[in-house]
Amino acid sequence: MKISLNTLKYYVDINTSVEELCNKMVMAGFEVESIEKQGDNLVNVVVGKIEKITPHENSDHLQICQINIGKDELVQIVTGAQNVFEGALVPAALDDSYLPCGAHIVKGKLRGVESNGMLCSGEELCITENDYEGASVNGILILKDNEVIGTDMREVLGMDDYIIDFKITANRPDCNCFIGVAKEISVVLGTEFKAPVPTYKTVGESINDYVSIDVQNYDLCPRYIGRVVKNLRIKESPDWMQKAIIASGMRPINNIVDITNFVMLETGQPMHAFNYNDLANKQIIVRNAAIGEKITTLDGKDYNLTPDMLVIADGEKPSCLAGIMGGKESEIEADTTDLFLECAKFRRDNIRHTGRALGIRTESSGRFEKGVDIVNVEYAMERALQLISDLDAGDIIDGVIDCNNGLPEDRILTVTTDKIIELLGVKVPDDEIVKILNSLGLETTIDGKTLTTKVPSIRDDIEGRADLAEEVMRIYGYDKIVSTAMNGSVMRGRKLPERIKTDKIKALMLSAGAYEIATYSFIASKAIDTLLLAEDDVRRNQIKIINPLGDEYSTMRTQLTTSLLTVLATNINKKINEGRFFEISKRFIAKSLPITEQPEEIPTMSIGIYGSDEDFFSLKGIIEAICQLCGAHTQYERSSEPYLHPGRQALVKANNVECAVFGELHPTVASTYGIDTKVYIAEIKLDVLLGINKRKTVYKPLPKFPAVERDFAMLCDSDIPVGNLEKAISQGAGRLLEKIELFDIYQGAQIPEGKKSVAFSVYLRSADSTLTDKEIEDVNGKIIKKLESIGAELRK
């Protein structure tokens, strides 16, 4: 809410500087967005007298002026304007001056002749005839003869005002107006608040002879007041009113429209003026729009209406979109003679819905959406009539039509001061509490410790003791709130087990040299296509955002891989030649589509690595470490994710439950992302790993007896997985097996085509004794037998 300081001074004594006023208002709950000093953008422009004009030798339209600015020397300024004459007083922008239009004027040469500034037009000063007579002239602004040479133009134009932009919180719609803010200032500064008391003259007759009002939907329109003014004398509104309107960001139009706008800014209550003579059947009907009805609004746009929208209709058709914008047909124009004036309360959610549905938001609809006071409707109407009367804008017909279903009584709250202090923790004295509440217009008496407070309808934000406590405290001073330690039981803070485990996984990743990344939870709807998934893949069942910021951010992700690939591509394209990255976040899985209940949010981890040292097995090592950390026993199987290299990917099972897929990125997918190097990626179902109950660690005695190492070099078909050989050895060795180490895989010379040589070191150990040669030979035999059973034979 922008308000000029001079306007506020009309309602309240302000006995302090603007800065101090603003600081105090901030501490009372009214944030100040900006303080704009008028004329801040008009610098170093003074009244100058043209003493002499000479033609410019190199131009047929430029003239060289010698300007007297009240100093010893004249200032030479070249102008292109033709309306200047010797002896004229003009606004002279001197060297290094600033104009409201944004221009910075410095001296220079115009076609070889020195010019030490610029003579200004009204347009260049951003002023109109309202600000200064002659401002609209095409050419330099010629000032009145009585202006004093050398005077700053800000003074000439009366730019001594400040415009303060108060941020009004959603609970205080009553402060979206001059009076509301002024009342608060009077409390904050402890000065007098002077509300205008409306009085006006009427010309007799009866409104009932002029118009009938029928409110058909009191639910959407709880109060509607109408008055009639005839013999309009439409002209410009006075300077003070125009200035107040402009300062608040609106445009003056004519006295009648300006009065309705001014009253809205002053009281917070929007009004609407209808051309009385355009009202069919002299009827006003407040009703829902009929199916198929249309309206052309003041701004010339056509809208199709729906029955949930409230309109003000005449006897035939909608004449106004209730509370939002008037109709073109009943607009007040220069030749309008008679006026029907509306002041009403409309239900805020209905205004909001209609405004959103039609895409219209106006000063008026904004206020109705935030809520206007049903009692204040009457005051606003009275005030408007007073201004019409005072400004001699028309003749007011006697009588008022006030349609309502009863007005609310003031609410009575009773609460003890102890209860207020209990919440604040600050011992505000009882009499101070009473004084503050009364100063805010909350009529309060005290009996013992019990407060009885009358809450007027305009403060419907005040519901109970918490609200009263806030009102008391913001005036008493938030700076009086001191820090205390909480009383009560000593509590121990805990993290959830999932978070503790996740933190450990992150620590492991850091020690593996990986960087944690953070990416958005929503992705482009088409991003999933880059993974080449089958049409019926469940990951395609993505939840769409109904009102996304754009397609790029339109879809809740069902996987973390596409986000990861984008990050890898970003880094690779920046010539960062190696890296390990991971993210722990959620994937969103709909229970059904379109969704009707909250989706599953599943903790998920993605890992991506690339660089000359990285391969499939580096990633496998990381995954194995994570699984071990979580207490999982891992198995690997071939998998068939379409976005991974078909021969270089694996499914990981943790304790027989699928928990991850990883592998080398498929070159087709890589090229989609502009990735030109090999990258290895994994997506891990963290929910599976976090759900594993790690077995309790029990100490095992260190071995007392020596281990025996036996090497096995095997020859087998090259497509037999090494894992199968290991499994065979493990089965053969039984409980004596300590560990198996692969030390060589060889294909080539001396190995038949289609075969490979695989060599292991096998360590055997018994906990109870040194193994005898016989025991060792027995185990050897079993191992070889098992290996032979899967087609591997000992190399001779």
């Binding site: 959603a170 609970n171 405290m473 205390t484 803070g493 769409k544």
Partner: protein
């Protein structure tokens, strides 16, 4: 015989002292002390002595042997020490050569800051809980005293996923779930991701992070709120940090406050960072609205509490002086490596 012994001893001492390397010493040891050495040979001549002379002479020989042996040991040790000293000297390296890197990853800066905050609040007795990111209208708005079509909904542009389903606009939704599931005394924080329909620019992101705090107990006051926030601010910004409350409005707290802390950059004197005010706004807070307590089945006459919401992204960008919030989500390794 005695003089012969003295002569051998003297020549042995002279020879050992004159020796230049270990090989020479070893040769001398063999020459004098070895099985066929000169001193050993003397012992062999003992048979020719009288029984009275034998022990006397034996003692003299053994003494001579001990002296030579001792000298050899000493000399050997000195030579070894010297040799080692020379070797070490020769091994001197240029300590300014680059270190062999230990590959160490980094947490995302948001989580580095979050972990600090979690530690602070856990130490103050707060539990750390989670809540869903896709919320119902009920939890995100209704229970927080923001009924449908309340103007406060305009304060937050919400992403909708379906009828009554939305991406939570605040972690405050987790307050409600906590109060429904726990009995006072309650002390929790809920860190998490939140979403608002803000176009992406240097200071706005549609995805950001909050840490919600909630305390409910008997006799909790605004002064307690200030106490907790002051303790938190001093942990994060330094022990001289002051906290200032300004009145504000949130639908789910009453009274509500905006919380400023003294600018950590200038200590409150006023600088570019705090735009000359000496204060930086860090969070919004307030006393839990009685309607909110009621909607969670907690009697506002018996219990009171406070809640606060801290913007993690802002805290992170101010701590590290990150000028553009988009950097947090771009994940350039050179950026991530700095924290």
């Amino acid at each position: 015989m005695k003089s012969q012994l003295e002569a051998i001893k003297a020549s042995a001492i002279a020879a050992v002292n004159a020796a230049n390397d270990q090989a020479e010493i070893e040769a001398l040891r063999v020459q004098y002390l070895g099985k066929k050495g000169e001193l050993t040979a003397i012992l062999k001549q003992m048979g020719s002595l009288s029984p009275e002379e034998r022990p006397v002479m034996g003692q003299l020989v053994n003494e001579a042997k001990a002296v030579v042996e001792g000298l050899i040991t000493e000399k050997t040790a000195a030579m070894k020490a010297k040799a080692q000293e020379e070797k070490l000297k020769a091994e001197t390296i240029d300590i300014t050569l680059p270190a062999k890197p230990v590959k160490k990853g980094k947490l995302h800066p948001l989580n580095t800051v979050l972990d600090d905050m979690i530690d602070i609040f856990v130490s103050m007795g707060f539990d750390v809980v989670d809540g869903p990111e896709v919320e119902t209208d009920h939890y995100n708005f209704e229970c927080l005293n923001v009924p449908a079509d309340h103007p406060a909904r305009d304060m937050q542009d919400t992403f909708y996923l379906g009828e009554n389903l939305l991406l939570r606009t605040q972690t405050s939704a987790a307050q409600i779930r906590t109060m429904e599931n726990r009995k006072p005394p309650i002390r929790v924080i809920c860190p998490g991701r939140v979403f608002r329909a803000d176009e992406v620019d240097a200071t706005h992101s549609p995805v950001f992070h909050q840490i919600e705090g909630l305390v409910v107990d008997k006799g909790i006051t605004m002064c307690d709120l200030k106490g907790v926030l002051e303790q938190f601010a001093q942990e994060i910004y330094g022990k001289d940090t002051q906290v200032k409350f300004r009145p504000s409005f949130f639908p789910f707290t009453e009274p509500s406050v905006e919380v400023d802390v003294t600018c950590s950059e200038c200590g409150g004197k006023g600088c570019r960072v705090c735009k000359g005010s000496g204060w930086i706004e860090i969070l919004g807070a307030g006393m839990v609205h009685p309607n909110v307590l009621k909607s969670c089945g907690i009697d506002p006459e018996e219990y009171s509490g406070f809640a606060f919401g801290i913007g993690l992204d802002r805290l992170t960008t101010t701590r590290y002086k990150i000028s553009d919030i988009r950097l947090l989500f771009e994940n350039d390794k050179r950026f991530l490596d700095q924290f």
